[in-house]
Amino acid sequence: MSARIPLVGKPIERIEDRKLLLGRGSFADDIHRDGMLHAAILRSSVGHGLIRHIDVSAARALEGVHAVFSAEEIGRPVPRIPVRLFPNDGMDPFRQPVIADGKVRFVGEPIAIVIADTPAIAEDALELIEVDIEVFPAVTSIAAAVAGPALLFESHGSNRIFGYEIRRDELADIFETAAYTRRERLYVHRHTGITMETRGVVAEWNAADGYMRCWGAVKVPFANRKILAGMLDLPEDKVEMIEGNAGGSFGVRGEFFPEDFLIPFAARKLGRPVKWIEDRREHLLAITHARDVECDIAIACDGDGHILGIRADMRMNIGAYFRTSTTIAPRNVGQFVPGPYRVPAYSADVAVIASNKSPSGTYRGPGRFEADFFRERMLDLAADDLGIDRVEFRRRNLLTEAELPKPFPAITPNPVVTELDSGAYEHVLDLCLAKANWADKQHLQGKLVDGRYHGLAVCCFVEGGAAGPRESARMVLEDDGTISLYVGSSAVGQGVETILTQIAADAMELPLDAIRVFHGSTTYVKEGWGSYHSRSTVMGGNAVLLAAAEIKSQMLAAGAGLLQCSGQEVSYENGRVIAQHGGSVGLKELAGKDIAFEATFHNSKHTYTYGSHVAHVAVDAETGHIEIVDYVAIEDAGRIINPLTLHGQAVGSIVQGLGGALLEHFVYDEDGQMLSGSLADYLVPLATDFPNIRTSSIELRPSPNHPLGAKGAGEGGTIPVGGLLANAVAAALRDFHVQPTELPLSPDRIWRLVQDAPAQSGA
């Protein structure tokens, strides 16, 4: 018998795709239940104010309307959404109520919910609700929020509602004595992940059993079950979250939002199933936003370009409330500024600022996209000031392998200890430069060719992954000799079904079709954690390995019994238990033996994929248009389970980064009205916009922190893009001395930078 060829590492096409391509997927809006009603949400059209009175009588009287609920019917105190990640008592006053009670703090905040026979009737009824709101002055920009006097939470006395301190070593008098220092104010604008499928909830209450079933769960079904059970005062095992297919998460979709309470509440109250499908306008107004952080940053170097220290004073505008994942970006933006570089002394203060905008949370590369923009801008500025080549400057400061593992700067409050695990940072930089023909293209820097200025930049990054504390997987040997694999990981379109099938098939030495994955629903495993922080391959994958090891030993024991020999006389090979005497049994024969095991993988150590990107841009100084001529990325993911799905993740991730750097922008006016409330104004990259992306993922330094060796990946593509593009534009427009300090790099902004440039070139 020939040796089995491992499936891990092979570019296997996604097993999810057949069903999806045939239109057999099941998304939230595909769910239909008998007697189902439809919900629509009345949202605040005012950025900041006090609800004086709500009159729902005309809406209730409309034919086809079953109920209208506001805070009054929901009951006071109105439940408030908990902080899921790194909660702190200090955040309690700033948590979002599931429906506005008294104050409204952003345009899009739910005020009332209508339940009707059809979604259209429900929307008709919204227009009949009369809301009297006393309008207060709003604050939307960081400057306005810091200045006040308008306060989101009057009793707190300030719009600065929380803060983090991040420290490594002592800065002492470094900035007074260093040969070189530079200080800049930089800003990354507000944008977020736009999922192809909007959010959706279908809830059904079984009064006889006291059981609540919800469809539309994604990303973190177990966490949301716990939150909902608490709000409905039900035991957790009386609440079920069902995850179907999901048209994307990107960190934003799948967290607990007001509707995740309002729809089940209505279903229980009315005794009828209720469906709510978010429309795109609601999505843009009220989904988790991200970024929106300003940074006063100072760098100190010696005369040879060695970084001595960095000091950063940041203000992150989180919008109106703390929600489930709001803490992550302000923590990360503070912790990731040093990145893969040796920054001996580091100090950052991150002020968390409230404003009249949609609450923010995690979005692909949370805090890291921003931190990398700040850092990489400063590196290019410092290198240029010191007359050191920008690549050489990075070489002098990248951490060497001998310096790893390297602890992150310490953060308080809610400290977490984590360290860069492994990597050959400079080597991958070299690979990327070679692939991008960096040396050969240097003559193009700043050169005008056919009316456009060419520029190239290079950046290095690290990406965090594999958040603990644990993940579960349950394997069951079925009667037909196949294995059902139930996992706590969530499928958000990233291909986790395929990945976990590959890992399980290898562990069990079986073909792919002998494994069937069931994911993301709260009845499959006792406890699951879901998909965020690039964790499912590492955490879910290792849980699969543990489960496989255990059921193999169960199979050996059972097989030994059937083959009438001792446990020491049997071995497992390619789905058969083989006895030394020559006899063997297959999985079908073992099927009746109750072979099943639920394993939990525990891990508190993060993985750090890393790599380098090179961008080659051509800038039209007259229109401000930026063309991506070439984009090259290399990341070391430690161990690659499926190069095909990883490649797809990497490309998509870069495109999202380019969208954030160039196009996507949530614009609010001073009153808190959102001016980019449709996809005609909030510009998401289209499939044809960025054709020139070349990315490769390699296996150079596996993570030493867990058996699989893989590192969380998929967010890395996004992380360096903002800083990289800004640096490439600066390189292209060097004759104009243009130095972008803010994103996005919109044509209007680039044109203005050229107009305002201190020195015009010969043009």
């Binding site: 227009e127 229109t623 980019s676 005609a680 919109s746 209007d748």
Partner: protein, 289 residues
């Protein structure tokens, strides 16, 4: 984003359609639906009745004669894109329509629908204005021929009466050898233009510009013509000096609004830039573009 309630009619004759429009205040014509249906979904329009003109006979052809083009109101963008005759019969028209939105939208959107919607950033109103088209509309009072210059009143506002339906748009003939260009700038391919400039002119045997047309979209309440720039160009030889003056004048002539994608001063500059590029491009285009 569910549409409000409305009644729907799909008449089989133009007379019937006009009658429905005049009998129902607030009724709207539904053609390709590419602008109207999103407005309904956003509840920014709440018509009582939609009069779908898809069953009306005719109005769906492009006729080419010595008198110019007659383009039916129900002609879709994809027909213009695919019509090989237009490469010589009216290359500017065909080229501008290639900038309309995306493939899927071009399969549905219609000439009459875009004219009636009158978005000042849209290509069809722009091409009608720069080419001095006649827009033919029929209502209870009979047929009316409206000059493009008189048709566009303000953003999303035309001189059409409530009961009038556009049936056709007529283009003056396009002489061979005419120099032309169209430059549009948008954030993404297929978006509404931040600004777009169409230019065309003839070069007489004396080598000077004659019959210059310069039209701009995206920089005013309606598609506009830059009369001053046209006057500057006529009778002159096109050289870099003239292009520079045209650029400056074009920029100074327009007074565009600011929005979240571009400030007014940026748009002013852009109109100048696109005018200069258009003129250069047109000059080098010769007769064979």
């Amino acid at each position: 984003m569910k549409m409000p309630q409305f009644d729907y009619a799909c008449p089989s004759s133009l007379e019937e359609a006009i009658q429905l429009l005049s009998d129902n205040e607030g009724a709207k014509v539904l053609s390709g639906g590419q602008s109207l249906l999103p407005l309904l979904a956003f509840r920014m329009a709440q018509p009582t009745l939609l009069v779908d003109i898809q069953k009306l006979a005719g109005m769906d052809r492009i006729e080419i004669s010595a008198d110019g083009l007659r383009v039916g109101a129900r002609v879709r963008w994809c027909q213009i894109e695919d019509d090989k005759r237009l490469a010589t019969a009216h290359p500017l028209f065909q080229f501008m329509i290639n900038h309309v939105a995306h493939y899927q939208i071009r399969n549905r959107g219609t000439v009459g629908g875009s004219l009636a919607h009158a978005d000042p950033s849209a290509e069809m109103p722009g091409v009608a204005r720069v080419c001095d088209c006649d827009i033919v509309a029929v209502g209870n009072a009979g047929e009316r021929v409206i000059k493009a210059a008189d048709f566009f009143v303000a953003a999303l506002e035309t001189s059409l009466q409530e009961d009038e339906i556009i049936t056709e748009v007529r283009f003056p003939p396009w002489p061979s050898g005419r120099r032309w260009a169209f430059h549009e700038f948008a954030r993404r391919r297929g978006d509404f233009a931040i600004a777009g400039v169409a230019v065309f002119f003839d070069i007489g045997s004396d080598g000077v510009i004659a019959d210059a047309h310069v039209g701009v979209i995206g920089a005013g309440d309606t598609p506009i013509r830059l009369d001053a720039v046209e006057q500057l160009l006529n009778g002159q030889r096109l050289d870099e000096e003239l292009i520079g003056r045209a650029r400056h004048l074009a920029s100074e002539t327009v007074d565009p609004q600011s929005d979240i994608h571009a400030a007014g001063d940026y748009r002013k500059s852009l109109v100048g830039t696109l005018t200069a590029r258009g003129l250069r491009d047109a000059a080098s285009s010769g007769a064979v573009k």
